[in-house]
Amino acid sequence: MSANEVFHHRRLACGAEFAAIALPGRHTTSFQIRLLCGLVDEPDDQLGLARIVEETVGKGTEKRTARQLSDAFDAIGAQAGSGVGRESIVFRCSCLPEFTAEALALHAEMLRTPTFPQEYCDVALELGLQELAAIEDDPSELASRLISPHAFGRLLGRHELGTRESLERINREAIVEFWRSNFSANRMQFTIGGAFDVEKVASDVDRLFAGFGDHVSSGRGCVPVEFNPGVRHHHKETEQQQILMCYPGVAVTHRDYAVERVMLGVLGGGMSSRLFTEVREKQGLVYWVGAWDDHPKGSGLIFLGASTTPARCDQTIRTLLREVERLGEDLTEAELQRAKVGIIAKMQTHGDITRARLGELSADVFHHGRPIGADEKTAQIQAVTTADIRRYLEEHPRDRLCVQTLGPRVMEALA
């Protein structure tokens, strides 16, 4: 990734926030349209609604049927997809540079003039119920669904699939109303990377989304995390026990975010990391173990996770907790350096992929409200010292843990 990146960032007349990074010579263009509405905006009794809207918004427009719209994307080879999150719904697209304008126009048509045919609304709700049942076959996803309301709270802890009862309360009118109340240019962040004419794209976006949802107010502020510590177990007859635990961290915008990233690198960043080394390599307790962060806007949580056969679960939990504590006691300069290089090098190698670089830009605009260059991020990571990590650990005690286990056995280590 170039150290001399040039960004273009501004609010367009249509209300959308626009950010672009020109990557001359690339053979693809990638863009994201992030609507600032998500699970937190669902009515309490209609959980799962945001995902149903995301699923059905592409099922027909005033000009095209669902199939015609899909065929139109395929006609230009656009690889389009979408996903619903806690606070936003993101529409992603990669295409050859010469089809950028057409891909944009198709997205505008899809987002501005959906018809939400009844048959597709019904199917989306039916498939949602089936997906809910399918989660039971995915122990790690099920554990994540179970811990989320306690880790993030009532709003941020919602799961995209909702519940059987809430899905049964959703109808086409609710779908249309969610779209009408939340989809608008002034709740839109548009980011693009690759080979294209920046001013032409900005002009196209402005024209295509002018007047889109003008009645909708601009985006909201941060939704606070409501952390609810405790130990919870879900019984399930599985071969392995799932272990998830979390505690509060810092926001992406916090001055210690870089410190947290490096700390997580030391803890779980690669095969040399402490968790991998202590839990897997020295004790053979697990195949999978990890540490990661999860960031709603303005907040953050640190997660530790592993899966192991039930008889070894207590020892695994004790080792996980011990390793976090030990970081404050004997962190070495070599470990610190390794974690820093890991973050910086991956940022650079993965930056060779246009859609990966664009994904970073989109996340930066969402969390920071501005593009952030690789140089700035690298400098922040480089500046982290062992003293910073010790201070971070002291300032963010882990005396309140939210723990979820899933499997055949209640854990003694947490009793």
Binding site: G284, Y287, K346, D352
Partner: protein, 417 residues
């Protein structure tokens, strides 16, 4: 002698000891990916050694004459490498993706790992890790049904054995068995060094000669025995722990080397990929949330599979829906528009692949193992562009999706009865 890229964009070279080297220079990138392909996998194991290829893949991270396991992982992470290894039915692969400045160091480390001492003191600990991996796979319906398909279609043949082995077979493996297997398979006649990225090919060749040129020459891996696929009847397993029923219809298909593979891939995409017939006529009919079609191929055999996961009481509905689509394509073939849509999507996918050394390396591994040579992005695009509705009609005559097939069922319901 200075080597330059051939017309296909690759530089290929073979060291005196037989180690093949394939390089794709990508001057536009700021990174480089490299790896070793070892042409051995689960199908190359004796029955009492089931799981040995995968176990050895783990052990190659555990120690060499120059490094212990800690030094190996520290060095990967010192470079910030995106690295890993995998084992499949027919191959074992080790790879790393780094910034260009670290590339030589990366290859030196990977080459050293290919001279593993299979350290005895790490053997029992790693066995525990692998037994955990097997336990994890027992909780995955996707993994279970993949293994069931191979058990059903290739009974008694090594392709039927799980890549991970079983709890019993892995528990019974000894360190000396692993070491013997290592000596037998990890040598130039059975390996390829592959590189993609911002590198100077001749310096890579010089480096490879220095690092690998002294590797001992041994006889190639024993020849593989062609399996006799059983693609008729029903194979069902009741697994009450799962909520969904996995259903598969398995038909004969081309091998990885067969010229019909691109026809098969395009057909699978039209049937069960993005914007496909399964998507519109089965998923969007609310029958099941996950239904797809795809090919499984090996060097001497292959299958075309239609599969899905349904609620247990909708098994028959899903099966009927899949069969209806297969019957329709047999009768009517595919349209020009459908073929063109797959081509258009492939063009964008291949352009993305061409950006990243990591993606190119993964594709090169597959092409070199399957065809014995790399294929450029342009060649792959040309192969897909050559597919037409007529060529797919020919495919369906040679590999009909009708008549005898194997029906697989795994889930909480004892179905079909």
């Amino acid at each position: 002698m200075t080597k330059k890229p051939g017309a296909n964009g690759f530089v290929e070279h073979t060291l005196a000891n037989g180690l093949k080297i394939v390089i794709e220079p990508m001057p536009h990138a700021s990174s480089a990916a490299g790896g070793f392909l070892v042409r051995t996998g689960a199908r190359d194991e004796d029955s009492h050694l089931a799981g040995v290829s995968h176990f050895l893949e783990h052990m190659c991270f555990k120690g060499t004459a120059h490094r212990d396991w800690k030094q190996i992982t520290n060095e990967f992470d010192d470079m910030g490498s995106t690295y890993n290894a995998y084992t499949s039915k027919e191959r074992t692969v080790y790879f790393g993706w780094v910034r260009t400045d670290d590339f030589e160091r990366q290859v030196e480390l990977l080459a050293d790992m290919m001279q593993s001492v299979v350290p005895p003191e790490e053997f029992e600990m790693e066995k525990k890790v692998i037994l955990e991996e097997i336990a994890m796979s027992e909780d995955s319906i996707e993994r279970k049904v993949y293994d069931l398909m191979h058990e059903a279609v290739y009974p008694g043949h090594p392709l039927s054995w799980p890549v991970l082995g079983t709890t019993a077979s892995v528990s019974g493996l000894t360190r000396d068995q692993l070491h013997g297997y290592f000596l037998d398979r990890y040598h130039p006649a059975n390996m390829v060094l592959m590189v993609a990225g911002a590198v100077e090919p001749n310096s890579v060749i010089e480096m490879a000669d220095r690092l690998c040129g002294q590797w001992p020459v041994r006889a190639p891996r024993p020849a593989r025995h062609r399996p006799k696929a059983e693609l008729s009847g029903v194979r069902k397993v009741v697994a009450e722990r799962f909520q969904r029923q996995a259903i598969g219809l398995l038909y004969p298909g081309p091998s990885a080397l067969h010229e019909d593979r691109d026809n098969g891939d395009v057909l699978a995409s039209i049937l069960g990929g993005q914007n496909s017939r399964f998507f519109w006529n089965i998923i969007q009919a609310g029958v099941a949330a996950h239904v797809a079609a795809g090919r499984l191929d090996y060097c001497d055999d292959g299958m075309m599979i239609a599969f899905g996961f349904s609620e247990p009481d909708r098994c028959q509905q899903l099966l009927d829906a899949m069969r209806r689509e297969l019957d329709k394509v047999m009768k009517e073939g595919v349209t020009e528009d459908e073929v063109q849509r797959v081509k258009n999507r492939s063009r964008t996918g291949l352009a993305t692949e061409a950006e990243a050394p990591y993606y190119r390396l993964m594709q090169m591994i597959q092409d070199i193992d399957d065809f014995g040579r790399p294929r450029s992005v342009d060649e792959r695009l040309a192969a897909i562009d050559a597919v037409t509705p007529e060529s797919i009609r020919g495919y369906l005559q040679r590999w009909p999706l009708a008549g005898d097939c194997m029906l697989i069922s795994l889930g909480p319901r004892d179905w079909p009865t």
